[in-house]
Amino acid sequence: MSGAGKPVLRQKVLVLYLANSALDAPTVAWAVYDGTGKTLHMAGDADEPPYATGLAALQDGWRLFQAAQLLPHARGEEFDLAYLKYEFFFEQLVEIAP
C-alpha cells in the first residue's frame, strides 16, 4: 500500500556466486528474482551469467546488501563440500506504476 504522491517501489534481487571472496572474481552461478513481476526467472533459464563478476554488477547500478562470511574450517571436516561458498546479494529498487 502506498501513500498519495509517494513512489511505489519494488525490489529486484540478483544473487551472484563468485569463484572466490573477491567481488571482482568470476561468476560461477547466479539467480534473479524480479519483484516488479515484469520478468520471471527460473532454474535453467540462462547458460551465461548476467554479469561476469560482482564488480560488473556494481558498475551497472546494483547495490550489494549481503555477502557470505568467511568461516574457518572445522577440524575433521576440512574437505567436506556442500553449498556454494561466495554468495553475494544485490538489489535494485524499481519504481512501478501505482
Binding site: 544473487v15 556466486y17 563468485l18 569463484a19 572466490n20 572474481a25 561468476t27 560461477v28 552461478a29 547466479w30 539467480a31 534473479v32 520471471l40 526467472h41 527460473m42 532454474a43 535453467g44 533459464d45 540462462a46 547458460d47 551469467p49 576440512e78 574437505f79 567436506d80 563440500l81 556442500a82 553449498y83 556454494l84 561458498k85 561466495y86
Partner: protein, 314 residues
C-alpha cells in the same frame, strides 16, 4: 550368458569426476515404442482439469508396475516388458555391473511427465522448471547409488529435458536446499535422440526443465543400490597394481607439454566451469578419495593432492 562389456577405467574415472555417463540412442526403437505403449497415453488438456488429476489417472492406468523397495533388480520387471528388455541390453548390464557389482537392489522408479503450456493454462497452474536439487536426503556415504534416466523419445531443447550440473555429486547437501541457484556455469540440458540413457551418481544436482513445446515429455528413472561390494567391478585390465604407492606422478603446475588426455589422472583433475578456485582443489581430493574406494587402493594419488597431506617427517 556371455559376460557383458564392462566399463573402462577412463569411463569409471569420468563417472567419479563428473557424476554421470551418457549413452546416446542405445535403446533400440522397438523397446522405446513398447515402453511408450506401456507408459500409456495422457489425455489432451481439458479446461479446469488440473495436471495432478491427469497425471495420477495416467500413472494408475498404465502397465508399469509398482515395485516394493528392496526387490532384487533382476526381479523388478516382468520378463518381456520394455524395462526388463532394457536392463538386459549388454551395454546396460555391463555398465550397471561395473558401477553396482552383482545383484543390485531396486530402490524406486518413477515416470516423470512434463507437460506443455496448454495443460498448465487449462488447469490453472504455472509452467516453470523444477528447482535444482539433490535426490533423497543428506547422504554422507562414500558408496553411491545409481540412477538410470531413460529417454524413450527424442527430446528437443524447447521440451526442457533434465538439467544437471556435472561434478556436483560429491557435495553433501540437503535435497532442494540449493534451490536458490537458478543457473550454474556448465549446466547441461538433456537434448537427445530416442533411446538415450543417462547414468547418474545419486548425488548429482539436477532438475526437470520447463516444457515450452507442444509435446508431452516422458522420462523414466530407476534408482538402485549395491547389495555387496561395488569396488573393482569394471574392466581393470589397464590399471596398475594396487597398493604400490601413489604410482608414477606427473610434474605439477610447471609443465612444458600438454597433459595426456583421457587418462584416469587427467580426468580426475579436470575442473568444471562452476568450480570455485579454492574448493575446486577439494573436489580433486574428494574424487581421489572415491577412486581409492572404488579401486581398493588407499595409496592412489594424482598430482600429490593426497600424498602432500599424508607425508609426515621421515
Amino acid at each position: 550368458m556371455t559376460p557383458p562389456p564392462r566399463l573402462s577405467s577412463v569411463q569409471m574415472a569420468r563417472f567419479v569426476a563428473r557424476g554421470f555417463l551418457r549413452f546416446d540412442g542405445v535403446v533400440p526403437d522397438d523397446i522405446n515404442r513398447q515402453f511408450m505403449a506401456e507408459a500409456g497415453e495422457i489425455p489432451d488438456a481439458q479446461d479446469g482439469v488440473r495436471i495432478r488429476t491427469l497425471y495420477g489417472a495416467a500413472l494408475a492406468a498404465n502397465a508399469i508396475p509398482e515395485v516394493p523397495a528392496g526387490t532384487p533388480l533382476a526381479e523388478a520387471y516382468a520378463p518381456g516388458s520394455a524395462l526388463a528388455r532394457l536392463l538386459a541390453l549388454p551395454l546396460v548390464r555391463g555398465a550397471v555391473e561395473s558401477l553396482m557389482g552383482d545383484r543390485p537392489v531396486f530402490d524406486h522408479h518413477f515416470l516423470h511427465v512434463t507437460f506443455p503450456p496448454a495443460y498448465h493454462a487449462a488447469g490453472g497452474g504455472e509452467n516453470v522448471s523444477q528447482h535444482t536439487h539433490q535426490d533423497s536426503t543428506i547422504d554422507p556415504r562414500t558408496a553411491f547409488d545409481l540412477q538410470i534416466m531413460y529417454y524413450p523419445h527424442a527430446v528437443t531443447r524447447p521440451m526442457g529435458g533434465t538439467r544437471f550440473i556435472p561434478g556436483t555429486h560429491l557435495r553433501k547437501v540437503s535435497e532442494v536446499a540449493l534451490g536458490r541457484y537458478q543457473n550454474i556455469r556448465g549446466q547441461q540440458h538433456m537434448v537427445c535422440e530416442a533411446g538415450t540413457l543417462l547414468f547418474l551418481h545419486h548425488g548429482i544436482w539436477h532438475g526437470g526443465g520447463v516444457n515450452l513445446s507442444d509435446r508431452t515429455r516422458y522420462m523414466f528413472k530407476i534408482r538402485m543400490h549395491a547389495s555387496g561390494p561395488q569396488t573393482r567391478r569394471w574392466d581393470l585390465s589397464d590399471l596398475p597394481p594396487q597398493g604400490q604407492g601413489p604410482g608414477p606422478q606427473r610434474p605439477i603446475f610447471y609443465r612444458k607439454s600438454m597433459l595426456e588426455a583421457d587418462t584416469v589422472a587427467t580426468v580426475l583433475t579436470t575442473p568444471e566451469p562452476w568450480f570455485e578456485q579454492d574448493t575446486g582443489r577439494l573436489e580433486y581430493v574428494n574424487r581421489i578419495r572415491l577412486w581409492r574406494y572404488l579401486s581398493e587402493d588407499p595409496t592412489f594419488d594424482v598430482d600429490y593432492w593426497m600424498t602432500r597431506l599424508e607425508t609426515g617427517p621421515v
